[in-house]
């Protein structure tokens, strides 16, 4: 298994509150990704990073921000959580044109 951990694994929060999800890797991969998985949508890319302090938007980036201050950590922040952001969030690592390896996921419920 690739060394990817996500925290927290489960979170319940209220609408309007800020939420930060953490992805930590021990593989020293340059590329890191945040996806969300929703029924009927598969996995969709939120943001990705191609190096420390280098990030870019994905398909569904509205309402999310990211930060990468160290190679091993990639943070996803919901500035003001909404019910539409209830989802399962997966972090992944891997190069373009190579296999991406996924973390165990964070299940987020926004009430």
């Amino acid at each position: 298994d690739a060394g990817i951990t996500q925290s927290p694994r489960h979170k319940v929060t209220e609408t309007g509150t800020p939420v930060t999800l953490r992805c930590h890797q021990t593989e020293n991969h340059r590329y890191m990704y945040w996806y969300r998985q929703d029924p009927g949508h598969g996995l969709r890319l939120i943001h990705y990073s191609y190096g420390v302090k280098d990030t870019d938007k994905g398909e569904v980036s509205d309402g999310y921000s990211v930060s990468r201050s160290k190679t091993e950590d990639f943070l996803l922040t919901l500035e003001s959580a909404t019910s539409s952001q209830t989802s399962v969030y997966f972090c992944a690592i891997g190069q373009v044109q190579e296999t991406q390896y996924f973390g165990p996921g964070t299940r987020l419920l926004v009430l």
Binding site: V96, Q97, F102, G105
Partner: protein, 114 residues
């Protein structure tokens, strides 16, 4: 507009028989394809991949076939086992220099009956 389509939400097969999962794509720039397997409450795990320069890749019980002219790929599992019951995602990647991410289909839930 879906670029990667898995038109069968579910598939049920008998243990020991062949499972065939299908995937279609629309973007001719895709040149690397992957299949992931996902169990409930776990992250997707990589299963097998294929580059567009090949038309077949095999790994044990799993074989992926790529038909570039039809923009179609399929995953064959032979023989199917109950432990193969999971959701299977097809994914495609464009060449380096593009957005750098994988585009996933919506998944097919495979049930293998003992």
């Amino acid at each position: 507009d879906q670029q990667v389509k898995q038109n069968s939400p579910s598939l049920s097969v008998q243990e020991g028989r062949i499972s065939i999962l299908n995937c279609d794509y629309t973007n001719s720039m895709f040149d690397y394809f992957l299949w992931y397997k996902k169990y409930p409450a776990e992250g997707p795990t990589f299963l097998i991949s294929i580059s567009s320069i090949k038309d077949k890749n095999e790994d044990g019980r799993f074989t992926v076939f790529l038909n570039k002219s039809a923009k179609h790929l399929s995953l064959h599992i032979v023989p199917s086992q109950p432990g193969d019951s999971a959701v299977y995602f097809c994914a495609a990647s464009a060449p380096a220099g593009s957005q750098g991410n994988l585009i996933f289909g919506k998944g097919t839930k495979l049930s293998v009956k003992p």
